[in-house]
Amino acid sequence: MSPRAPIGRFTSHWVLIPGNDIDTDQIIPARFLKTTERTGLGPHAFHDWRYQADGAQKVEFPLNQPGAAGAEILLAGHNFGCGSSREHAVWALQDAGFRAVISTRFADIFRANALANGLLPIQVEPGFHGVLVSAVPGTELTVDLANETIELADGRTTSFSLPPFSRYGLLKGVDELDFLAGAEPDIAAFESAHAARISTLAVSRSDA
């Protein structure tokens, strides 16, 4: 939500949720999409992997392990966030306390949604991903957005890259809608040069 707080540097341990191609239906199942709020979805993040049908926790699921408490970084497999465009997936992860997700690839819409909300989609090479996966649980990682690096406590580091505009906006707390609104003169010029191709109002009045 705006105005957004700038994001800088932070350090946290991570939770590993293994599996490739984790789709947004797993991150937040559809039956929780009936909310009209952005908040409150955290308890339902990964709901069906996290709880039994009777609501009891599945103890073996990473988010239910004691080491997961307080983690602000989610480490996930390849092609994270594929499937549905639901921004609820990002809201749920943020509501569950995450500020960054690390993967070797993100689905396009998930990445855009994450950037719009300030959840950092950090894409790393498979090699460094492997380093993280095999690190001692509880190891801490420092995310440095300004320098686009992540660094382990032992000094091993790698870089990542966000679109320059997103990086700038996240660092400065500039929001995308404000930026778009700043394009108003160009939008107005475009509209006066290009008549609207359709009118949904007209079609809704005619009996189609």
């Binding site: 797993q26 709020e37 079609v203």
Partner: protein, 477 residues
């Protein structure tokens, strides 16, 4: 003159640049048509309210209720599944009336799945940019539109400014030569394409479907194809417009009329990719070699020919694939090397924005006519829109389904996403014409096999996964 050759995508993209992309800033891209539904819009309207903004172009915005609406015959607000869903529908109604956005609510005779009603009204046209807070917006690419799904933050962007911030995607040509064999449909083709690319293989790309097989597809088949482009991770899928497109549009309410239509067609003909254009990637398939496809796993890339065998993780090409296959086998309760054909199913779902148009229903009815849905199998038929429903009833298709013992229901997303009461049930196996077989997509614990309407209908008749060609041979005889 002498301009560099451009792809269909390039032409649509270039024509919508309010501001070009620079090294530091994304492009500002203008949106011609913004479709809205109840699930992904409430928070966007709230964002506008918080900033004191209005909807810039209600006349280029259209809303409907489809995801969480009931599809029980005679569905109304009273039969909405719960208070949360009702509140979401009420939010949409209030937001639309406040901002002057036309809405086709539950009970309206133009209501339906957002990706079915845009095209059938003629709102989706070649060369447009179409967006919706819904990943299957890729459907509209069938018309040579650039159409893609966006998140709720971006829904707010479009509501307020009619524009989006976008970075230019790469292009990929999917060339399909030859013609599909009888019994092999556009659904089978797209399942084969996703199988080839993998669920992440299209990431960052707009797909353009080309070749003889694509040219010979009807508009409804092209919609099925483009609909599932997102399942390969693609930003969008597109088919260049041609006479098939123009014929489809000619009589639609929102299409230009008379001389204006002729002028539009002249412009639309310019949209095809120029000779000599280079795409970033090429993929080539032979339509003749394809059989009806069915998924066996937990993403749409995990498919096999309906008579094929489920793959063995031991033969996977790498560790990542081995892991994915094993996980999927565990969830689905299948064995490596097992045949799917002959496997008993509990539910058959005919519907969703992939396969709920008139020709989909007609194809299934061809198989079901004079047959019965097998004992112990529940079959739901959910037309994509009220208009499709009426057209099907005019042709007597509802009778065919009812006589066969299938349920003939109201329009909506229904069991594709299971946000209402239409759920498969834990552990139960469904053959579904929808687009996602993710774990629990059709309700907690549901196991989904994605297939064409023909395969779904054939399976309904026999009660076990069935190659539709066996039954088609019978009904044709």
């Amino acid at each position: 003159m002498g301009a560099a050759p451009r792809t269909l995508f390039d032409k649509v993209w270039d024509a919508h640049l309010v501001r070009p992309e620079t090294r530091d800033t994304p492009a500002v891209l203008y949106v011609d048509l913004h479709l809205v539904h109840e699930v992904t819009s409430a928070q966007a309207f709230a964002e506008l309210a918080a900033r004191g903004l209005k909807v810039r172009r209600p006349d280029q915005t259209l809303a409907t209720m489809d995801h969480s609406t009931p599809t029980t015959p005679g569905a109304s607000r009273l039969t909405v599944v719960d208070d949360a869903a009702r509140s979401q529908l009420d939010h949409l109604a209030r937001n639309c009336s406040e901002h002057g956005i036309p809405l086709f609510p539950l009970g309206d005779d133009r209501q339906g799945i957002v990706h079915v009603i845009g095209p059938e009204l003629g709102l989706t046209q070649p060369g447009m940019v179409v967006v919706c807070g819904d990943s299957h917006t890729s459907t509209h690419g069938a018309f040579g539109a650039l159409a893609f799904g966006i998140g709720t933050s971006q829904v707010a962007h479009v509501l307020a400014t009619q524009c989006l911030l976008q970075t230019r995607p790469k292009t990929m040509e999917i060339r399909v030569d030859g013609r599909l064999a009888p019994g092999v449909t556009a659904k089978d083709l797209i399942l084969a394409i996703i199988g080839r690319l993998g669920v992440g293989g299209g990431t960052g790309h707009v797909l353009e479907y080309n070749g003889e097989a694509i040219r010979s597809l009807s508009m409804e088949e092209r919609m099925t194809l483009c609909n599932m482009s997102i399942e390969a991770g693609a930003r969008a899928g597109m088919v260049a417009p041609d006479d098939t497109t123009f014929e489809y549009l000619a009589s639609r309410p929102a299409a230009p009329k008379g001389a204006a239509f002729e002028r539009a067609v002249t412009d639309w003909r310019l949209l095809s990719t120029d000779a000599g254009t280079v795409y970033d990637r090429h993929v080539h398939l032979d339509a003749k070699a394809l059989a009806p496809m069915i998924t066996w796993g937990t993403n749409p890339g995990m498919s096999i020919p309906v008579n094929g065998l489920i793959p063995d993780p031991a033969e996977a090409k790498d560790e990542r694939e081995r892991e994915s296959l094993s996980r999927a086998l565990t969830y689905m309760g299948f064995r490596p090397g097992q045949a799917l054909a002959g496997t008993p199913v509990d539910i058959v779902f005919l519907g969703s924005c992939t396969n709920s148009r008139l020709s989909d229903l007609a194809a299934a009815a061809r198989v079901l006519r004079g047959n019965r849905v097998a004992n112990g199998v529940r079959m739901l038929v959910v037309p994509g829109s009220q208009q499709v429903k009426r057209a099907a009833e005019l042709q007597g298709l509802d009778r065919v389904f009812r006589d066969a013992g299938a349920e003939w229901r109201e329009a909506g997303c229904s069991m594709c996403i299971a946000m209402n009461d239409d759920r498969v049930g834990p552990g139960r196996l469904a053959v579904s014409t929808s687009n996602r077989n993710f774990e629990g997509r059709q309700g907690p614990g549901a196991r989904t096999l994605l297939a064409s309407p023909l395969t779904a209908a054939a399976t309904a008749v026999t009660g076990v996964v069935t190659d539709p060609r066996t039954i088609l041979a019978r009904v044709a005889a």
